[in-house]
Chain length 184, copies 2
């Protein structure tokens, strides 16, 4: 397959159509690699942090109602970055807020672009171990059920399509691949 | 961890703030599980389809400029569902448009919610084998470089954080886990 040399698009003008509580919407005029013009609509997002909290053979999950899908889904604890906040700080805060547990060890475990066609979200994943009980502090508009499940059962649910959250699939699959854990 | 019984939110009113070429933006008034009111802003998306095209020990990738990140990234071929289109039709079309190859075998290989906090996108993944050369037909505003790479090299790049696209990480990691392929 012959490769196209030039792929970059040039911004000609940018406009904020909506400034929201969490996301903004922008519509830009761009110049395509061939010199033609087009428009690009995309979401500006402050960035997210999620945490894979391992506790022996178990890991922490939360169940919450995700309004865009009108559905309660299972995910690893996560939240959006506050202004100027480092992702690792967000991850530790969300772990404690959503599960009531703190951790002794935390390390970066990857970063993904969740759906690069229309959002600029950077989604940072962290791996936490050495969990210690603290207290839960959910946001006023946050209703979450948190619990531990065996990692291998979560992997089985991911491979069976029962767990659909992208960051949860990414983090658990990566952990299993890098720790020699194959499905039974 | 005690579980919250009630997690669902009720829609009180819904408003379309923006109707775009690919995405729409909605702002809804909701009633929270405790009876309080809040607002939910989210993106309406027609759904996407991506295809993991396996060719012996290789797989197909495309490089394209993703405007929200102002960056050329590596991904599996993908595109958005046209109105009323089945995801498998989208996947086959995008494979041929972006790589110039058709496939003998195609099967569903999972569906993810890429970032459930603010989009309702359903992202369907398909697994293709038995690839046959056809012709490329990119959209007018689509500039893509397509090529094959060894699957194991792609997995290594995913685990090293060099490949950041969420659907690509999900599909390749799932394929490796379900085919007993661990990183070297």
């Amino acid at each position: 397959m012959e490769k196209t040399e030039k792929l970059e698009e040039k911004t000609l003008s940018t406009k904020e159509l909506y400034h929201g509580r969490i996301i903004n919407l922008r519509l830009d005029d761009v110049e395509l690699p061939d010199g033609n013009k087009s428009k690009r609509e995309f979401v500006e997002h402050p960035g997210g942090a999620a945490i894979l909290a391992i506790d022996g053979d178990d890991m922490w999950l939360v169940r919450q109602f995700r309004y865009p899908y009108k559905e309660v889904i299972e995910e690893i604890p996560a939240g959006k970055l506050e202004k100027g906040e480092e992702a690792i700080v967000t991850a530790k805060r969300e772990l404690q807020e959503e599960t009531g547990y703190d951790c002794d060890e935390i390390q970066p475990f990857g970063m993904i672009y969740p759906t690069p066609g229309y959002t600029n979200e950077h989604l940072y994943i962290f791996l936490a171990k050495g969990l210690k009980k603290r207290a839960m502090h959910l946001d006023d508009d946050e209703f979450i059920s948190a619990y531990k499940r065996p990692l291998k059962a979560v992997l089985a649910d991911i491979l069976a399509g029962k767990i659909k959250d992208g960051k949860t699939c990414y983090a658990v699959q990566k952990y299993c691949l890098t720790h020699g854990i194959l499905p039974e």
